[in-house]
Structure formats: structure tokens, C-alpha cells
Symmetry: C2
Subunit: 500 residues, 2 copies
């Protein structure tokens, strides 16, 4: 804020004395410009064509605000049809958005595809749990009984006996996503929504970890991102064992290599896509020695697969899980061994200010995290915020996730609005798009651009957010340069095709 | 943040190089302490007895958080019975809270009193509007017909004919407050709640502006504050004409003098109460020349009643009203004439980021405002925030008002949480307690302490908030000293009676 000193000191001098308070319109204008320049995208130079498109977006946004219902103020499940009809959304879909830096392995592909493609493959068994969810398993013979689940049924047989297959398929879809018509009734509080959230994950698990599906699923996930004009992915992945029809399994290294193979294959078929890197994750419900083993595994994998392996993170609900500080012994391991294992910690995904969990933000920074997942609570921590800013540790903002998981209802109140107004390093991401009824990155960009940024956000904001997703990625400097050059070509094309 | 430099520079140096990321527990502790010291109340020295009470409050807060329903996360109308049973609330009621610096003239007294006392006085007429509200008028004869209202009925006659007087009275109460069992259904959006809000004001108007009621009402209002351990009030007041039974009226000066007389009378009967000052307000729906006249009136009143007259403000919904900049000619008048008319502007009571309305914050500061009413959007304006901080322009935070008027649903997301974590100058206030089903200041203190402050807020926070309400009042330095000494005596008594 050094540039401000001159303007501010003038004002303060004036105020300290008895000087009359008739604002000078030029000074006012200068202060407004100054404030605008502080925000994300505020110092972004725009071409003439970009300025025209920005003015066009501004008009569209004003229309959206004047409407009877403002999508970012509504629950995403209700807002989705409105967003789909929004001309801003349609522009954002066409816009090259750079990278998705925060998404999870089991929510990359629309659940329709899981039901309509995967569950129609041969040997797919299903059982129904006591908590009104489902489990799947591919198997040559009927699988061993699953605890707290009905006997296994071959889906093919079940479909043969069912009058209304559409209903059956819809109920399967329903079990794989949180999406529902009346979210407030279905998920009255955070406990309820998180419990259902974890059920959807368990429901998808048996489908996605079937070896042949696993590779298809990831390919399909890259396809959905590519179609949404995303060019690179950093995936948080549990690297689960995958299984074959005969019950035999493959280990973590196989899974990581599968990701690498698919990414390479996808790139070879789409030369303007830059591939994917994997952030190995384990659940924060584990104990210290389990996390220690996972960290050791991560270091080993990093040596074996330096191209695809980006680092390490802990997943699961922070509010009910263990804190980073609890795992300090495990997390200190790489440094003790002189190994650099980059961390990409989820931290501050809470609105319990001042609790032990809320401490994760500072601890993530003390453990030298490369980025912060969510950082929802960061604005409550001026010191951690300052560290994150100075160190260039970007916050991965996932608006729809935070709303669906009930951290905030009206996205105009999302704390990233504060971060954007200060030009804090941040990227927009989608977390678990399939589970939230979203896909790709455009829905989250819409919420960030229209809701969080409000009328202050303009084309420069979008441009900086896209560039940030490359700048703050784990790519090497050389690959970043390559990515930025590729993105710029796509961007210029987008501007020339869409500027009025 | 100068104190931080040393700690931060160490960290940054370490990060810039390849130094291992094993956090030093002492450094971590120092950073946590440092961050805690930044917040509101963070540098407040506490006695041994205060520390014991603070630890007790901390335990109570943890219990409140562990419960199945967390009041600050709920709509106040639903949370109120829970808050009333909370031992924290009961402590806050007993605590000397200092001053209410943001409250409005027609919502000072519980609406029960209006119906059960005022409407039972003789000559009270009522009519029923097309928009399902009511109007009242005291009159010797039947008043002239009110447009868009049923014929006037003498309430005494109506009550005589009614089987169920309780039902009738409850329906009158219902018209004077927003309080209702199912607020989400009753007020689906901001337009709906503001429209009903303005109706409650119009319903109360005819009762409160009847000359004999007017003085009783204000006395009763001071009584409610006094009972809630508030010792001083700055009231935003429209200074309406008051009327007599024969239809004759008194002017603005009479109204202001009535406030002064009642305040003096109240002090004489309650020597430990410090009285009230008035901030003259007009509606932001007026045009420039009308506001000019109001500003001229304010300057005149200030000369006539320097003791009670504190300054000037504009009221009404910012989102649909005119901006401060629109009124710049009128608001520059005092400075042009070399007169000091303190301003206490409502500003930033919006979540429409980057709109013209949102500009009110910076303009309030440019017009040298003494405090900022609400400042809900301030965290989106880093430059205005910096000005407000450096200039010591306190933000009047009204949590329940912001929630009921649908700026934010879960008060843990209230932007004042950011301000508190930075130790920004702020006071807690109640805005329109009667309309929101609250009374006094304790409900808003509860929301600020338990919801906005979370586990980070402690007894030092409460102490600083109470002291702030005197420090940032419009009282003269001499009166501030007197007020602080009086408050300190009350505070010491509170501590000695309540510390475990
Ligand atoms: Zn995540
Ligand atoms: Zn107000």
C-alpha cells in the first residue's frame, strides 16, 4: 500500500486539523482508482478488444443483478438452471480458464456417466445399505457379503426384473451426488451434509476402483475439463488399490502409473492439453503412525514418478478430523530426511473461529504448504493472511463446495470477496464438481465472478484468475512458460471471437 | 504490524531458501500469541479475577458450540429462546456494556408496551391498510380518513365488540414487529423484509408521535436500556412533528427539547445513567434541496441544543435509496459555512459489491464521518478500511439487524469477524431492537461475542467493546472521562460478583 501513502497522508492531515470536509472530486476519483487497482486483476493491462468485452460483461452482470432472483445468493442446486441460461455463464464456458488446482479423484466425472455407462457394464453387482445408500462391486462371481448391506444383486438381473429402469437408474444417480431439489430440507446442517457427502464417495468407490473403469473414469474426467476449456489438472487422489474381476488387486504405484498413462494418452490425443499431476492424499482420521507411513509412501512415489507426483495432503472434514499439528511428527519427516515433499494442505475449511481446527491455517504455512485448500477462515487470521500473501501461497477458493457444505449460504458473503479486494494470491477451483451437480470449472468461475467479485470484478479479474491457476501450479518454470504461452493463444482467440 | 517484522522476516528468509519446514513450537506459540494480540481486546490487561471469569466464559462457550443447535448460526427469531436460556447471555445482561451508539427512535421500546399500555389509552383509533398493516391515531373526534386504509375505529369500541381481545392485541403486536415463527417463509428476500420493516415503522408512527406518548415512550426506552446495563444512548431520530388530541402539532425543536427534558429527568432519577444525545436523521429518499434544508435545520438545532444534539445522518435502505455522493451539495454546506456538523453516516449496509451504493463507505469517510453505521461492506474496501482505522472512525456493528434484514444468515460469517481479528475500531449496537424482537444490547453482544468472535473472543474483547462504546461516542473528553470512571466502577462490581 506504499503508493497510497501520499493520498492518505493528505487526507489524514486534513482530518487531524479543522480543515473543511468538502471532498475534492479528483481526489475521490483517485482514491476509487487506487482501491480498484488493489483487487485481483486490478493492475491487469487490457487491450481495446478486452475492454469492449469487459464493458459487455458489466452490462450483462447488471442485468443479472436486476433480475428477480440472483443466482449467487441462492443455493447452487436451485441456481443451476438460472446459471445455465446466463449469457455470462456461456461466455465463461468458452473462456480458457487455465487449470483446476483443487479437485478430488472420485468426483471428476458427472454421475450420469457412472450410472449410464459404468453400471451397464457386465458383472456389476449392487447392494443397499442400512443408511439408504448403495455399494457397487464388479465380480466374476457373486462377491462376499458386505457388512450392513443387503445381499449383492447383479444389476443386469435387477434391471431385467424392474418395470421402470429409469426410476432405478435415477435412484442410483441420487446416491452418487448431493444434488437434490430441496437442499435445505435434505441437509439441515453441516453434520447431515457431510455424512451424506461421505456416503456418495463410498457409493462411487466400488465403481471407480474397478481397474478397467479406473482408467476410463480418469480419461472421461480429463475430457470434461477439456470440453470446459480447462487445460491442466492437479488432482488430489487417495491412490486406492484397484481390483480386477477375479478379486485380485493392484497397489498404489499401479494407480499412480495408471494416472500417468492416461494423462499421457490424453495429451497425445489433445496436444493443447497439458496433462495432470497428482497430490497424494490420505484421510485425516488416520493416526500419526499411519500418516507417517503415508508420508514415507509419498516420498517413495515422488522418486518413482517425479513427472506426475506433485505432493501430499490430508483430506476429510477438518471440523471432525485431526489437526495438522496433531500430525506434526509425520509431517516433519521429509524435512528431517532432507527431502522436499511439497504440501498442498486443506486448511481453514471451517467457520469455528478460534478452535483447534482453525489453527490449521497457520500450521499449514509453518509446514511450508505450497497452496492452501479453501482457506475459508483466512480473513480471520491477519497474520496467517500476511504470511500467505508475502510467501505467494495461493488460496484455492471453491465457492460451490463451501456453499453446498454449508459454510456460507449467500456467496456474496464468501470471505474470498475480501481476498479478491486485496489482490490476495488465489485461484478458483471446483473441489468435487460431480457431487455438487456441477462439472468442469465454469460454474465456480460464475459464482466467483458474479457473486464473490460483484460489480468490482471485470475481465481483468478473470484474466488474472486464469493466469494465477498456471502461476500457482506445481509445474516447473519451463512448463509454466509453455502453459502461459498456450493459454495466451487460446485467450487471444477467445477475445477476438467474443469481443463485441 | 511492526512488531511482527522480526518474526515474519525470519520465516520469510527461511522460506525463500531451502531451509527445512519443521516448525519450532516456540516460534509457533509466539505467532499465535502475536495474532491473538492483534484482535479486539487482544492487548487488554486482565486482572486475576477477570482471567478466572474469562476462563469460565470460555468453558460456557465450548458447551454452547457442542450443543445440537448453535444460536448464532440460526435466524435470531428461532435462536432467541435458546439465547434466553444461555448462561453466557445471562452474564452479558448483567455486564455493564457502556453505550448504545446506533439505535433508531421508533424501535426503542418493546412492542408489547406499545400495545398493552399505549393503545389502551383513551381516544386511540385504528385503521387497517390494504397491505395488511395498521395505522393508529389519537384524536378527540374521529380522525379524517387515511388513504388506502379502512375507516377509523375507536380501539376501545372494537375491543368491546371483540370476543378474543388477546387475539386482537397479538395481531396489533404482529404489525409492529418483524418477529415471527417462520422468518424464512415470511420474508423470502431483502425486498420483502424491507417492505415489511417500513410498514412496522408506519404502524408505530401514529402511536409514538402523540405528544403525551412521545415522552413516555422515550422514558420507557431509556428504562429498558438502563435495565440491560447500558448507561448512555446516541439515538438516530427523525424529529417528527408530534400531535395533540385536537390535531395541533409541535415542531422539530419541540421534539428535540422533549428528548432533552426526558433525558434530564431520567438522569435525575438514575444518577448512574449518563443520558442521551440525538443524531438528527432524514430519509435518503428525499431530493437534494430537501436534504439541504434538513442540513440547515440540523445546524440550527445544534446551535439551539448543543447539549443533546450530536449530528446528522441519512436513513432508509441504502440499496434502494440515494447515495451520499448524490447529496454532496447538501452535505458540503456546513463546511462551506465554516460550521462543524458531525456526521454519523449509515454506509456499506449492502452486499452489492462494487455498485454505486457500495461507494457510500468511501464517501462517508471523505465527508469526515465520525462513525460508520453498519459498514457491512467495509472488508471489501481495503482503502476505506485503512482510512477508517487510521482516523479512528469506529464501525457500528449491528449483528441481529444485518441477519434479520438478510445481509447474512450465519453470523459466524459476519464481516465484523474480520474487523475484530484485526482490532479495527468498532462498537456493537442494536439498530432497531423492538422490530427485531430483541431489547437492550445484550442480544447483539451475545451474537458478537459467541458468533462473530467465536472462540477467539474472551473477556478482554467484551471489555474493549464496552470501553469503545464510550471512547467512540460523541461525548466531550470531560464527559468521556466521567463515563469511563463510572463504567469502571460498574465493571469492577460485575467482576467481583461474577468471577468464579
Ligand atoms: Zn477438497
Ligand atoms: Zn440504522
Amino acid at each position: 500500500m506504499a503508493v497510497l501513502s501520499f493520498l492518505l497522508s493528505g487526507l489524514l492531515l486534513c482530518w487531524a486539523g479543522v480543515c473543511a470536509a468538502i471532498p475534492d472530486p479528483r481526489q475521490r476519483e483517485a482514491l476509487m482508482q487506487q482501491e480498484a487497482s488493489l483487487q485481483t486483476g486490478g493492475r491487469m493491462a487490457l487491450t481495446e478488444a478486452e475492454r469492449r468485452l469487459s464493458a459487455h460483461l458489466r452490462k450483462l452482470k447488471q442485468q443479472e443483478m436486476a433480475g428477480p432472483q440472483f443466482p449467487p445468493a441462492m443455493h447452487f442446486f436451485k441456481a443451476r438452471p438460472l446459471i445455465q441460461r446466463s449469457p455470462i455463464f456461456s461466455l465463461l464456458q468458452r473462456m480458457p480458464k487455465g487449470a483446476v488446482l483443487h479437485a478430488h479423484d472420485f468426483s471428476l466425472v458427472g454421475v450420469d456417466w457412472l450410472v449410464k455407462n459404468v453400471t451397464y457394464r457386465p458383472h456389476c453387482y449392487v447392494c443397499f445399505t442400512q443408511r439408504q445408500s448403495v455399494r457397487f462391486r464388479f465380480s466374476a462371481q457373486k462377491p462376499l457379503p458386505q457388512p450392513q448391506c443387503s445381499p449383492w444383486l447383479l444389476l443386469e438381473t435387477l434391471r431385467g426384473k424392474t418395470d421402470n429402469i429409469t426410476d432405478l437408474d435415477n435412484s442410483l444417480i441420487h446416491n452418487l451426488t448431493l444434488f437434490t431439489a430441496d437442499p435445505e430440507a435434505a441437509y439441515p446442517n453441516q453434520d447431515a451434509v457431510w455424512s451424506r457427502f461421505e456416503e456418495t464417495f463410498l457409493a462411487a468407490l466400488g465403481l471407480v476402483t474397478y481397474t478397467p473403469v479406473f482408467k476410463d473414469y480418469f480419461y472421461q474426467g480429463l475430457q470434461e475439463l477439456y470440453k470446459d476449456n480447462v487445460m491442466y489438472l492437479e488432482l488430489r487422489a487417495l491412490l486406492p488399490e484397484t481390483y480386477e474381476l477375479d478379486g485380485s488387486t493392484h497397489d498404489m504405484a499401479w494407480t499412480l502409473k495408471a494416472y500417468q498413462d492416461v494423462a499421457r494418452q490424453f495429451i497425445s490425443q489433445h496436444p493443447d492439453f497439458l496433462g495432470a499431476r497428482i497430490i497424494f492424499t490420505v484421510h485425516r482420521g488416520l493416526n500419526v503412525s499411519e500418516v507417517k507411513k503415508a508420508v514415507e509412501g509419498a516420498m517413495r512415489l515422488q522418486k518413482m514418478f517425479p513427472e506426475i507426483m506433485a505432493g501430499f495432503d490430508l483430506v476429510g472434514r477438518e471440523d471432525s478430523g485431526r489437526s495438522l499439528w496433531y500430525f506434526r511428527e509425520a509431517l516433519s519427516l521429509p524435512a528431517e530426511l532432507g527431502v522436499t515433499l511439497p504440501y498442498f494442505f486443506h486448511a481453514g475449511e471451517t467457520d469455528w473461529e478460534g478452535t483447534e481446527v482453525d489453527q490449521n491455517l497457520l500450521d499449514a504455512l509453518l509446514f511450508n504448504t505450497t497452496r492452501i485448500g479453501h482457506g475459508f477462515a483466512l480473513t480471520h487470521h491477519p497474520l496467517a493472511k500476511e504470511l500467505s500473501r508475502k510467501r505467494g501461497v495461493a488460496v484455492e477458493v471453491c465457492p460451490i463446495s463451501n456453499q453446498v457444505l454449508k459454510l456460507v449460504s449467500d456467496l456474496r458473503n464468501h470471505p474470498a470477496g475480501v481476498l479478491m479486494s486485496e489482490g490476495h494470491p488465489l485461484v478458483v477451483s471446483s473441489d468435487d464438481p460431480a457431487t455438487f451437480g456441477a462439472s468442469g470449472l465454469s460454474y465456480d468461475f460464475y459464482e466467483a465472478f458474479v457473486g464473490i467479485g460483484g460489480m468490482s470484478a471485470h475481465l481483468g479479474t478473470l484474466k488474472e484468475l486464469a493466469i494465477n491457476s498456471i502461476r500457482y501450479s506445481s509445474l516447473s518454470p519451463q512448463l509454466k512458460d509453455k502453459a502461459l504461452a498456450l493459454w495466451q493463444r487460446k485467450w487471444d482467440k477467445f477475445i477476438s471471437e467474443n469481443s463485441p
